[in-house]
């Protein structure tokens, strides 16, 4: 084939190929199947097995006031979630914690009053952590927590195509009424290793 023939074919096909490739990329459904995290559902008291760690949400409480490193009054109501993380095969930073309500509103975890928003998980034993979310009262119905190693990034970039645990908290209007009736602040423990096995585990003092 002559040099000239190669040249006109290239000039003809290259733009077509680039155009076709661009069209193909725009057809890929980027908002759903491509970059969504792998959500693994669980319930309170169950162990959720992610590929990088095991997670158990051990307790869920609702309170108006919390106390730990200085007290805090909720703007709405505090949802306090105790969880235990155990890494699968290496030391991990766990940074993702958000509460999603039935209306798909996302609430970030708060660090007020000693509540933790991140921890380090290791293999060999569990690490207990208490997350707190200050939410509007109507967010309790059907609220779920999304916990994972990736942080909360605005667009979920750090959870893209990674496993995330989604745990239904089993809360409703009655939980709020109980919380309103009790004025005692809920004590928030600092994150600690779980030394004693069993439901919820008992951390070392």
């Amino acid at each position: 084939m002559s040099r000239r023939g190669f040249s006109w074919r290239t000039m003809l096909f290259a733009p077509i190929a680039i155009g076709a490739a661009t069209w193909f990329v725009t057809q890929v459904p980027q908002d759903t199947s491509v970059d969504r995290p792998f959500e693994i559902e669980g319930a309170v008291g169950e162990t959720v097995r992610l590929d990088y760690a095991d997670l158990a949400v051990t307790d869920v409480r609702v309170a108006q006031r919390i106390d730990g490193e200085g007290g805090a009054q909720a703007g709405g109501v505090f949802v306090v979630v105790d969880a235990v993380w155990e890494a699968a095969d290496r030391t991990l930073s766990i940074g993702g914690a958000e509460l999603v309500d039935a209306q798909e509103r996302t609430h970030a975890a708060t660090s007020r009053s000693g509540c933790a928003t991140a921890t380090t998980a290791v293999p060999a034993y569990g690490q207990r952590i208490t997350y707190c979310f200050d939410v509007v009262p109507d967010a309790l119905d059907g609220a779920q927590v999304r916990l994972g190693r990736g942080g909360d990034g605005e667009d979920g970039a750090f959870q893209r195509r990674d496993a995330v645990a989604v745990v239904d908290l089993g809360l409703d209007r009655a939980s709020l009424e109980e919380a309103s009736a009790d004025e005692t602040p809920l004590w928030i423990d600092a994150p600690a290793p779980v030394v004693e096995a069993g439901p919820g585990g008992e951390e070392n003092a």
């Binding site: 699968a88 095969d89 290496r90 030391t91 991990l92 930073s93 380090t120 290791v122 293999p123 060999a124 034993y125 569990g126 600690a192 290793p193 779980v194 030394v195 004693e196 096995a197 069993g198 070392n204």
Partner: protein, 212 residues
């Protein structure tokens, strides 16, 4: 029948022309899929460079460069320093108790875990900075016990100091003796038996030593 004969006559290259055209695209897609690993070439955030690997009882030679901020020795501030340490495993055995320390978060072996005492002999030029020293136990399935967190902020939950330093040392500088022994305790899952010890000062360099 004639059609079948025609197809055969077209030859292998022509029959597979579409697949041949697609092949370079598939190779390019596969290369793109693993290209994130190239990041380790210029920004190694993992233990990716195994400097030495030795059998049971042998001495591994650790060599790794680090950028010194001059926190320990101001004369070295903002320079690249080569750290060289020889390490040999003297003993690895399961133990029933944990070291006593007022800094410990864990004062007894957690349920479902086991404790291992690792004894090492180290040799380094006196004055070598041994900060960020890590000793890990690794099982045959690749589980790494005792690895420091990426941020390097989490202290040892057993309250032990730098695993490269003798127990009474106040800093992380190699002692005058030149050769010395250290002992550290690591937790694993109960039932897991470590095959290897990994020795490192943070990413990306490490050496591996078979457990005697």
């Amino acid at each position: 029948m004639t059609a079948v004969v025609d197809v055969r006559e077209r030859g292998w290259w022509r029959r597979n022309a579409i697949w041949l055209a697609v092949l370079p695209l598939m190779v390019a897609a596969a290369a793109a899929a693993w290209s994130f690993r190239l990041m380790n070439l210029w920004w190694p955030t993992e233990l990716v460079e195994r400097v030495d690997s030795v059998g049971a009882g042998e001495t591994a030679h650790f060599v790794g460069d680090y950028y010194d901020l001059g926190l320990t020795d101001p004369a070295l501030a903002n320079t690249w320093v080569t750290r060289e340490v020889d390490v040999r495993v003297l003993d690895v055995r399961e133990v029933d108790g944990l070291p006593q320390s007022v800094l410990a978060e864990i004062d007894r072996i957690p349920d479902g875990a086991a404790a291992w005492r690792v004894e090492l002999e180290l040799t380094a030029e006196p004055g070598t900075d041994l900060g960020l020293c890590q000793v890990m136990l690794v099982t045959s399935d690749g589980t790494r016990y005792g690895e420091a967190s990426k941020a390097g902020t989490r202290p040892d939950p057993l309250g032990q100091g730098n695993p490269c330093m003798p127990p009474d040392s106040m800093d992380s500088i190699a002692p005058e003796a030149g050769t010395w022994q250290v002992s550290t305790v690591l937790l694993t899952r109960a039932g897991d038996t470590p095959d290897e010890i990994w020795f490192s000062f943070g990413n990306p360099h490490y050496v591996t030593l078979d457990v005697p």
